[in-house]
């Protein structure tokens, strides 16, 4: 009898397997039958999407999702994947041929170009200018997602000029009677003084200058001239080259090596990850780090305020370069891209619906109107009192995990602002120190020029395939030079090896594309 009971349990288990897998199959089939029907204006479209998230995910049936379905009369079925494994999952899905209607990616990587060339995405050339928020995407920025003359993606907004730039502990400067540095010599003196003269006044030798993590990051380039990412300098043949192999970078590495010898840079930086390096600065050990107006971490900053209530942080404005230029590099001007499935070409109504949804999420709302008074803002954020509240004039949104607001689900929720300052990022912070720092960074960026980085407008196949590996090589070599394990005289050999491994091909491809685009020398904005 006892045995029979067990046997039944086993049979039930086997039955359960069959039933459940059959259910899975039905679900799938149901999704498919709704697609591809006759186009009909009144028909309720099922719209599928695949997107990624770094942090928490909105739930499957959240309030925000229902709001979208009601407003646009659709059945919106998004799925989200953790960013670190997104590329692999997306590859599997694209290979399976069952591509969702909307595909969101972080940027145009080599997969994007591959799939675009294979015809996986819908060309958007004629559509973009029909929608006000997409019309705003500047032509030079569109080039990054243009393949053979066809624009394949809607680019999400990113401030043009708000990059991460160096910031410094003003309270430490004041205690030591120093001013905010204006050139590399002064910055060196300050960094050494932070290391040796007890800037926090606790009588202990426990502080230093520059916080740094693996890959010489941040690199403390005080302008486009020294920036490793900027294609600003030229080689002997008149070709543009990446900052990473330029003469300016060589001098910069020598400068860092000097500081490292003085103990003014994080000692084991080559082994630290970004979180650990943040800790170096926000725990009050290092006095110089980087900051940006948008998206800084309030938890970190509150940690610093708790430890040293008198902390003050100010930006270090760009230095004047030997060639007279002065200013940081601008960003690619977009972050995140939204593509449509090429198969949608047969369903113009559905495309119109999707474009309407995307356009709606991108609508700009001026800072002073971000409250229940503005119907668009109120709806996008899930209505006051439900999706968000207003505290002391600041919008406090519910966490994404609750899925209470349509912006938690929409493919693009970033407002396309008319200019950087209109975003009012600094005013959204609740930690006063962070608010002040962000405001002074906004002011600094508003007052200085920025180099339009030509690399953002072109695509090089070799670069897409090899850049990661080649950069790692350069980082390793340059880290050794800072550590003093390798002499700086090895620089030319390093550049040569880089060129031979594929760097020369990258330079050639980039310069050819630039020529085709009509590039005519550095452009400052």
């Amino acid at each position: 009898m006892h045995c029979r009971g067990k046997a039944w349990a086993a049979a039930a288990l086997a039955g359960a397997i069959i039933v459940t897998s059959a259910c899975g199959g039905e679900d799938e089939g149901a999704g498919r039958t709704n697609e591809g029907g006759a186009p009909d204006g009144q028909k309720k479209h099922t719209i599928t999407m695949i997107d990624f998230r770094y942090g928490a995910f909105p739930p499957t049936g959240g309030k925000g999702l229902q709001m979208i379905n009601e407003k646009f009369n659709v059945d919106f079925k998004p799925q989200y994947v953790v960013r670190s494994d997104y590329d692999q999952k997306l590859s599997a899905i694209v290979a399976s041929g069952d591509i969702p209607d909307i595909i969101v990616m972080e940027g145009p990587d080599s997969n994007f170009y591959k799939w675009a060339k294979q015809g996986a995405f819908l060309p958007l050339n004629e559509l973009l200018d029909k929608y006000p928020t997409m019309k705003l995407i500047p032509d030079n920025i569109r080039k990054a997602v243009t393949v053979n003359g066809k624009i394949y993606a809607i680019q999400k907004y990113l401030t043009e000029n708000y990059q991460l730039t160096p910031v410094i502990r003003k309270d430490w400067l004041d205690r030591l009677g120093l001013a905010v540095p204006k050139n590399y010599d002064e910055l060196k003196q300050v960094a050494i003084a932070f290391t040796k003269n007890d800037p926090d006044g606790n009588g202990k030798h426990d502080t230093y200058g520059l916080a740094m993590s693996a890959n010489i990051n941040p690199s403390y380039a005080m302008g486009a001239y020294w920036d490793l990412e900027a294609w600003y300098h030229q080689n002997a043949d008149g070709q543009l080259i990446p900052g990473m192999i330029s003469e300016a970078r060589k001098q910069h590495i020598a400068w860092l090596a000097d500081l490292y010898k003085e103990g003014a840079i994080t000692k084991d930086f080559a082994l630290l990850n970004w979180a650990q390096t943040n800790k170096e600065f926000y725990s009050g050990k290092a006095g110089i780090f980087i900051g940006t107006p948008r998206g800084m971490n309030p938890t970190y900053m509150q940690g610093l305020v708790d430890l040293s209530p008198n902390a003050q942080i100010v930006p270090i404005p760009p230095f004047q370069a030997p060639d007279g230029s002065q200013g940081f590099v601008s960003s690619p001007g977009f972050y995140g891209i939204v593509m449509l499935n090429a198969k949608l070409a047969k369903e113009p109504d559905k495309v119109a619906k999707i474009m309407e949804m995307i356009d709606y999420g991108r609508k700009f709302v001026p800072l002073e109107q971000r409250n229940a008074g503005n119907a668009d803002f109120d709806w996008l954020n899930g209505k006051e009192g439900q999706g968000y509240t207003i505290e002391n004039g600041n919008v406090r949104r519910e966490v994404e995990e609750k899925g209470l607001a349509p912006i938690n689900y929409l493919p693009d929720k970033t407002m396309w602002a008319p200019n950087d300052a209109a975003n009012g990022y600094s005013k959204e912070y609740t930690v006063p120190l962070l608010r002040d720092l962000a405001a002074s960074l906004e002011k600094m960026h508003g007052e200085t020029k920025h180099l339009v980085n030509p690399i953002n407008e072109v695509f090089s196949e070799t670069r897409a395939a090899k850049d990661t590996e080649l950069s790692r090589f350069l980082y390793t070599e340059q880290t050794k030079m800072i550590f003093g394990e390798k002499p700086l005289s090895d620089w030319d050999a390093m550049v040569k090896e880089w060129s031979d491994k594929g760097g020369a091909q990258i330079i050639k491809e980039v310069n050819e594309s630039l020529k085709a685009n009509g590039y005519a020398g550095p452009q400052w904005k």
């Binding site: 288990l13 897998s21 942090g55 499957t60 989200y80 940690g303």
Partner: protein
Amino acid sequence: MRHRTWGERCIDIANVLLLGFIALAMLAPFWYVAAVSFASYKEFLQRDIVWFPKEWVLSAYEYIFASESFVRSVGVTVLVTVIGTAVNLACTSTFAYTLSRPVIGQRVMLVLVLFTLLFSAGMIPTYLIVKETGLLNSIWALILPIAINPFNLIVMRQFFVGMPGELHEAAVMDGANELKVFWNIMLPLSKPSLAAFALFYAVMHWNNYFTGILYLNEPEKWPIQVILRQMIVVGEAQTALGSGHILLEHAPPAETVQMAAIIVATVPILVVYPFLQKHFAKGVMLGSVKG
């Protein structure tokens, strides 16, 4: 007690020291994770390394258990582990027993199994199979594609082969059919090896995250490892932002919360070990030494 020479004692002391040191090296990272999970964020920032929090706080755990998705994902993992291990044992033991008997095509079957041990189809073909069998977005996708581990299967087969043939003969003489022999004789005899494989399989299911990411589309169905990865990876992602045009929009959970998540995700499976340990040591060796 036998008198021990000076040399022997020296070796003993050296052994204890060496093994103690190795054990400590294994334990230290885990202890650190536990200590940080109970420390306040301020203390974590302030001290270089936290071995013993000055002030024990539970805020990190409160944060985690307030998160619906985290608690739910623990439930999913427990479910997948229990059902998955049961399926694994059922499939592996029956198949292994069959292969240990002189059945037609046994050689061919064995070669096919060995083949999968050496070569695998890779991610995309496997995905296609899971998709076409309709398992996508169902927790069975985490269980059925890995229902049998070929290595475990072969070890278990060896175990059955090693059993005295007389046992089988005697049972048949008494009128038992193959199923009965398997169920009433062979399975009870192989409890130690079943326990060992149960542990292997359970740990595999518990730690599995990638199939969850690949095959499940709804966050509600994700196991704990996917959620854990998501929490830890946010911190990591920011390492890559050298250039700074990626936004730090989604603040990662504080390190103390990350550590607490690791503890919650690790301790349950760790607790299973002592219970199965005694079978484990015995079972692993079985089958390796044949009569």
